[in-house]
Amino acid sequence: MRLFFKRRRDKIQTQQVVWEEQLTSIRPVTCSVCKGESPASEWHMGGQVCPRCGWHAPIGAYYRLSLILDPGSFRELDADLLPADPLDFPGYQNKLTRTETATGMQEAAVSAVGEIDGNRAVFAVLDSSFLMGSMGTAVGEKITRATEYAEKKKLPLVIFAASGGARMQEGILSLMQMAKTASAIQRFQSAGGLYISCLTHPTTGGVTASFASLGDIMLAEPGALIGFAGPRVIEQTIHEKLPAGFQRAEYLLEHGFLDQVVPRSQLRGVLCQLLALHGKGGR
């Protein structure tokens, strides 16, 4: 981690460091799924995967990148892109400020250029700790710019999705980010660009229904909830309980919507293999 961020000391005061402090503590961490307790150091070793049940806990965007990128290869793109309040939505500015203070992040997306075992690519990661990773105008713009950058530089594109869907407070303009990002991905792919989409817990709503589902290669982490409508809405609509495992990564794999479910510990290796198989991957 320290090595990874050596070029960006300013990022050190962010959530990832809070993570780091928690990790080095000897305090046991309780799994939100199996309720089992394991030492923080064991969680850390597995990249925040429960040592008992294998639950892949959601992780921050910078932390995610630190797990897969070559040390020192990280260069953030559009770091200064800030959220807007285009509809003058009551209370939204305050909410953004509070969230920024709490998470150390300015928006729910981080984009960067980096390398995996020397394979250069553009990366974008959504962070579900920031307003549930919801897509407003700034997130849509960041994804679009990252895609356009990858097209311009003829680099492959890797996006990690984690989102509750559209950002309600930015209303219709959030919805339009679906069209904007999907159009950019389409353009990038028709120019020969390789797009690897990795779905992480949870990926729902407008993000599922736009760029996240359009990967040339579709990956997901084990146990991730992935869908368009949320399970609660579906249960209210059809008036029945959904079966166990519904909308989980393994279920999507079975129904033909994923190439593979990849455990976090193997992600770097799989991405490395895929990038190498595609050569430059951006033609």
């Binding site: 807007a84 559209a166 904007k180 709503g205 589902s213 368009f228 409508a229 809405v233 579906i234 129904h255």
Partner: protein
């Protein structure tokens, strides 16, 4: 100028007597040939589409279909498509491109259907593919929001060169009920949601999401459908003529720029405080 509140407009937009896609097809087009099925697993009748002539010129027309009577509504699933509906629309639109037909879409849906089978068959993937496909087509696309346009289920027919809206139609990220439920955990506050969502045609014209607002008769479209058909017809003729001057590449580029510009008016970078 109308004096309806946003909440009243939502009611008007949902009024069953309001002209729907089937009415527009019957009154604005000739020689309509309905095309059914997604060629993969079924025909989703909440999406109505086919080939027709518009002022003599072959076009492809696709829209959400809600139905008016309870029986019709059940049959058309209240205008809420599953993935098969969007895949049918994609099939028709690809064919339109192949044969050089302009595409006209009518948007009127409470949203994509949140059901078990819909998820199983990839509701999100189907909508995403529709967005990507529409962005790439080399023929003119005109979308008209005629009633309520909610969520990705509406947008999946909305990636057009021109997006027009009837005066009292509404278009939003989610239904006001769903919006209130997500934001305030209370769907009964939908009236309040209508007031802050900026979902009216007038608001959307102002923020650049729609490019034209089509006048309705006083009291709403259902009071004089014939007048609405004339208005929509005239608007389509005008827009189609304008778009027909562009070649395929220019159409794709214009459509890309239209959506590329939405919501990129972000604040200037602030000095990072460490």
């Amino acid at each position: 100028m109308s004096t309806f509140t946003p909440e009243q407009k939502v009611k008007l937009a949902r009024f069953p007597g309001r002209p729907g896609t089937a009415d527009y097809i019957a009154n604005l087009f000739t020689d309509f040939f309905e095309q059914r099925g997604d060629r993969q697993c079924r025909d989703d009748s909440s999406v109505l589409g086919g080939i027709a002539r518009f002022h003599g010129r072959p076009v492809t027309v696709v829209g959400h279909r809600k139905g008016r009577t309870l029986q019709e509504k059940l049959k058309y699933n209240f205008g809420m498509p599953g993935p098969e509906g969007y895949r049918k629309a994609q099939r028709l639109m690809k064919q339109a491109e192949k044969f050089g037909r302009p595409i006209i879409t009518f948007i009127d849906t409470p949203g994509a259907y949140p059901g078990k089978e819909a998820e199983e068959r990839g509701q999100g993937e189907a909508i995403a593919q529709s967005l990507a496909l529409m962005s790439s087509l080399t023929v003119p696309i005109i979308a008209i929001v005629t009633g309520e346009g909610n969520s990705g289920g509406a947008l999946a027919l909305g990636v057009a060169n021109r997006v027009l809206m009837l005066e009292h139609a509404v278009y939003s990220v989610l239904s006001p009920e769903g919006f209130a439920s997500i934001l305030w955990k209370d769907s009964s506050r939908s009236g309040e949601a209508c007031a802050v969502m900026k979902l009216t045609a007038q608001d959307l014209r102002r923020i650049g999401v729609v490019q034209g607002v089509l006048r309705e008769p006083e009291g709403g479209a259902h009071t004089d459908p014939e007048a609405v058909y004339r208005t929509v017809d005239a608007a389509l003729v005008k827009e189609l003529n304008a778009l027909s001057r562009l070649d395929g590449k220019a159409l794709v580029q214009q459509r890309y720029q239209l959506f590329r510009a939405m919501g990129n008016n972000l604040p200037p970078a602030r000095k990072e405080v460490i």
